[in-house]
């Protein structure tokens, strides 16, 4: 196109002003889900087909014959002509579903081998398995981590002998386009030993060490709207909170913006900071623990908005919820529930979800946190016994629920936000964990 003259420049500017009235707001995932539910794709197991090399005249004659027959038939029976969707469609790549005969609701074998300790988890959507980087630090062995997978269709753990494994950081994320698990290692001293990104292919059972990564990565997630992996890094002394975007293919990091969430890292308890990417809202949902506020971060603009929703746990327990409210019975974890399309927080045995329409946190399970020192707190502690110690909360889109690793004893639990019920997927083991030979 030729260079624009003055009028065209003015026209373009005026058009942009005019287009400010356009309805650009949308909830991408909600729209996709609506279409998927209302207009499901066919999943025919029939191969792709195409027109074979037949002379054009033959096609025309064939088409004419067919039209004649069709018209004649329609006139004969007096019915109307109707356009119908062709019966043969190209093959679809189905979303993962449990194989026939699976019992995803039945507890797995209690005596099976299981991770010796907790660690960050992510759900591999292609394989239908949870991947966990289990820490071995507590066992004081040379290796610091093992890779385990949890089959959500059979409720069984499998140790993946994946060769070189990153030092376990605080988070994992799954990139559904690259079909890779993403991790940032935590070698301890970020100056002497700068952290690196790692990718894990479950199909190849291989970890690959990538280039340098930001220090103090606390959360990782996949930003559906922007199709990129993102990270939140924070440290009490160095960084009040920064969001990064990671281009997996190019192995490069870029700052998206600042998101300060006063709380956990201030007490050297990284990983307790409650923020997650909400794919339905297309925002990072964070709770500001000292101010009881909920904060939304826009990944596209880098802007932060404080909304009115009060984090219900903050007022009663402050940041010491784990240590003082519930005698260490329950930890705190956050995840976006793909099925419920809400950000969920498990804390003190309570399950909360953020309702953006009402701008509040709803209690889905448990009596809620009302008073850290009152009798309600004791009652809540009893209720939280089921939830045990939540190392990590991860969404299981295959079965439409949240999965919690129960910490000591290695119990695995599931929470269905629709029924608001817990299920035990794997009872805790009575056997003390030992390093895997």
């Amino acid at each position: 196109m030729a260079e624009r003259d003055r009028f065209e420049v003015d026209l373009a500017a005026a058009l942009l002003v005019y287009l400010e009235g356009a309805p650009t707001q949308v909830r991408p995932l909600e729209l996709a889900r609506h279409f998927a539910a209302a207009h499901p794709h066919r999943r025919a197991g029939i191969g792709h087909w195409g027109l074979v090399a037949v002379p054009r005249l033959a096609w025309i004659l064939l088409l004419a014959a067919l039209l004649t027959a069709l018209l004649g038939g329609a006139l004969f029976v007096g019915s109307q002509l109707q356009w119908r969707v062709p019966a043969i469609v190209p093959p679809a790549v189905p979303a993962f579903v449990c194989p026939p005969g699976s019992s995803p609701d039945a507890p797995g074998p209690a005596n099976q081998a299981r991770p010796p300790d907790g660690g960050p988890m992510a759900f591999d959507r292609a394989a239908g398995k949870i991947v966990m980087l289990a820490s071995l630090e507590a066992l004081a062995v040379e290796s610091r981590a093992e890779t385990w997978t949890f089959d959500v269709c059979a409720n069984t753990w499998t140790l993946m002998r994946a060769g070189a494994v990153p030092d376990p950081g605080l988070a994992l994320a799954y990139d559904p386009v690259a079909r890779l698990i993403i991790s940032v290692d935590d070698p301890g001293d970020p100056i002497a030993r700068p952290p690196h990104a790692w990718t894990y292919s479950l199909a190849d059972n291989t970890w690959t060490r990538k280039g340098p990564a930001p220090a103090h990565v606390v959360r990782l997630w996949y930003d559906v709207a922007s199709a990129r992996v993102a990270a939140w890094a924070a440290h009490a002394d160095d960084d009040p909170g920064t969001i990064w975007a990671y281009d997996v293919a190019a192995d490069t990091w870029a700052v998206v913006g600042a998101l300060e969430v006063l709380g956990g890292f201030g007490w050297n308890t990284p990983g307790n900071d409650l923020l997650a990417y909400d794919a339905n809202l297309d925002r990072v949902v964070a709770t500001v623990t000292d101010g009881e506020r909920t904060r939304l971060f826009d990944m596209h603009t880098g802007s932060v908005v404080d909304v009115d929703a009060v984090a219900p746990w903050a007022g009663a327990c402050g940041w010491f919820v784990q240590m003082y409210c519930y005698d260490g019975v329950a930890g705190a974890a956050i995840a976006y529930d793909d099925h419920a399309q809400r950000t969920a927080v498990l804390i003190g045995g309570n399950m909360f979800v953020y309702d953006d329409a009402a701008d509040r946190w709803d209690t889905l399970y448990g009596p809620g946190i009302v008073d850290a020192s009152g009798p309600e707190a004791s009652a809540n502690a009893a209720a939280s016994a089921l939830a045990r110690e939540s190392w990590s909360l991860v969404s299981d889109p295959v079965n439409g629920r949240l999965v919690v690793l129960g910490g000591t004893g290695g119990a695995v639990l599931a929470f269905d936000a629709t029924t608001r019920e817990w299920a035990v997927l794997l009872e805790p083991s009575k056997v003390q964990p030992t390093p895997t030979p």
Partner: protein, 179 residues
């Protein structure tokens, strides 16, 4: 582009996944291209509500027919073409053959003084164009589509797209400059 750009490889894989019914991939396309489509629909319809309906209808078409898209790199002009088509059909169904465009001017609606074209004048001039021509204007002057993509979007060759655009601009030039 309003949304986040994707590179060619990612577009191809995302389009393939979305065409196969992957909700996350489809949501990614919505996030990337929805604003572009809203602009085109708004220009074509001249009405916010109709534009919303047109874009939603366009996404439904995309959901159903994305797998038929042979060249994923053409996803953007393809979506804009679908949007324009849906807008046109919506206008036909709801308002008959006469295309109207909202030229109401609210308080302070004087446009950007730096542009040299008042918003009310622009609206009035746009109202004299067809929905397809308004969409074409937005595709080029607001969304920066080149003649190749414009050709894909309106189903013509790139030179024909350039010529059509040139005629539209000439018409606007007379109307807006010469009054």
């Amino acid at each position: 582009m309003n949304g986040q750009a994707m590179d060619g490889t990612r577009i191809a894989s995302t389009v393939a996944l979305a065409g196969a019914g992957d909700e996350a991939a489809f949501a990614q396309l919505v996030s990337t291209y929805h604003a572009d489509m809203a602009w085109v629909a708004f220009a074509a319809c001249g009405d916010r509500e109709l534009a919303e309906d047109a874009v939603q209808a366009a996404w439904l078409v995309a959901w159903r027919k994305l797998r038929s898209l042979r060249d994923p790199d053409r996803i953007r002009p393809w979506l804009l073409a679908v949007t324009t088509n849906e807008a046109r059909q919506l206008l036909r169904r709801r308002r008959g053959p006469v295309v109207q465009i909202d030229i109401e001017v609210s308080g302070g609606d004087q446009g950007d003084p730096s542009t040299g074209i008042e918003r009310v004048d622009l609206r009035r001039a746009l109202a004299h164009l067809s929905p397809e021509d308004r969409a074409l204007l937005v595709m080029h002057y607001a969304l920066d589509l080149g003649s190749d993509e414009l050709g894909t979007a309106i189903g013509t060759s790139p030179p024909a797209a350039r010529m059509r655009l040139s005629r539209i601009v000439d018409r606007l030039r007379k109307e807006l400059r010469d009054g």
